[in-house]
Symmetry: D2
Amino acid sequence: MEEDVFHHILPIQLRFNDVDKFGHVNNSVYFSFYDLGKTEYFASVCRHVDWTKTAIVVVHIEADFIKQIFSSDQIAVQTAVCEIGTKSFHLLQQVVDTHSGEVKCVCRSVMVTFDLERHESIPLEEEWVEEICAYEGRDLRKKR
Amino acid sequence: MEEDVFHHILPIQLRFNDVDKFGHVNNSVYFSFYDLGKTEYFASVCRHVDWTKTAIVVVHIEADFIKQIFSSDQIAVQTAVCEIGTKSFHLLQQVVDTHSGEVKCVCRSVMVTFDLERHESIPLEEEWVEEICAYEGRDLRKKR
Amino acid sequence: MEEDVFHHILPIQLRFNDVDKFGHVNNSVYFSFYDLGKTEYFASVCRHVDWTKTAIVVVHIEADFIKQIFSSDQIAVQTAVCEIGTKSFHLLQQVVDTHSGEVKCVCRSVMVTFDLERHESIPLEEEWVEEICAYEGRDLRKKR
Amino acid sequence: MEEDVFHHILPIQLRFNDVDKFGHVNNSVYFSFYDLGKTEYFASVCRHVDWTKTAIVVVHIEADFIKQIFSSDQIAVQTAVCEIGTKSFHLLQQVVDTHSGEVKCVCRSVMVTFDLERHESIPLEEEWVEEICAYEGRDLRKKR
């Protein structure tokens, strides 16, 4: 998947304590950037969802740390849904340097939708799927 | 790899703000548990290393989130080195419930050793490798 | 108030990322230690309170940072209620080095009890007040 | 001191995990906002300082929590130096809602400059003091 497939980009404000004693952003902090990217993505793309009743929960996440991030770097997180199954969907995210365009970290995750009242995972609603496919500009439904 | 291969276990003290608005431990926080587990592992196993000059840096990490963690849970992180290459090594970690024994999350990561003064990755020292293999009770060197 | 008035002490597990680029624990992290100390205090002292309906909320906090905390330090947080009014109560807390006994930071806070369903502050229940006074071994009610 | 004395304002990007299980921003997180405000303040106002050798360290901090912050709020942190002594200086900061203008939290802190190589507090440099007074538009030196 190439960088230009990303329609969603969110600039990230680094915090003083994101940087650990090695002088670079600590690896665990990247996942709060990815959290922020996907929260903003779904809030803006899936407008009909009641987020007090439904949550999106990570079941698998993997990340490749390519370049260190320093406190003076200007960074952003790019987010795209890249595949939608019946019970889960796949997300591709990148942390990039907005000055140099350099990719700092690539993250792939598998998410499920979760009913906060019944405490169980639920199928993706069709309306939601359509909004995401419309936003991404292509049919992301997994072929069977 | 079975659970009983873990020789290293570190109880984790949950903090109030580890729990997000969904009432469970936020996914990004798990990685600070894994950080803590591996920091303690290498500090206790590799005693001759000067940690002011050498760092261990994550290049790849992946995690499967199996069960939610709630603020009342008693948890611990288990850590094992499971393979050692010439330039990197693999870590297997688990967050477990110490009451029920239930596995909450499994994490695999690839680490490199990093020279903090020259800012570059360095090969694993033989003494270090031997200490780890002795601790794990088996030869972890990758067969070529 | 002297150190020996503290009946409640909670050892704190430092995390890798508590330490900032200056090599000491970042000031904002101390407040998560105080949070942990008070959460544990009220959970163990006020056993009849339903914490899903009632919260304790900070309205004022002040801290004196006396000594730096380094990642190798063994620390604990001491917590005492030192005064109870009709609508609020005062807490005194300290972060101490458990090896040297050295006081690292002193924190005073004013707390109110808060009804999570009606979203408003509520008076302290008499049963709660009695449990705290019994635990502290003296009458903490503000004289009018 | 009135709100219009603030010349420095920094919008804050909230993160998913800033919000605790009560649904509002956790009190310990506010201090990372204040950290961010002051870091940005000194980086932009005191341009001749070598921040790899000199740090600004908090010795006292106090905050009044006036209104809760929710994840949908647009907030910013306002920062002003309000008094400069020979060895320390005072900071006034506020977290405000940028839509309503509402003040969420007021924070006063006492800071010292710290030599990172000699590990001791150092007097404020005259050049630094002048830059701050020029920025604030008034003489902040404590009268003796």
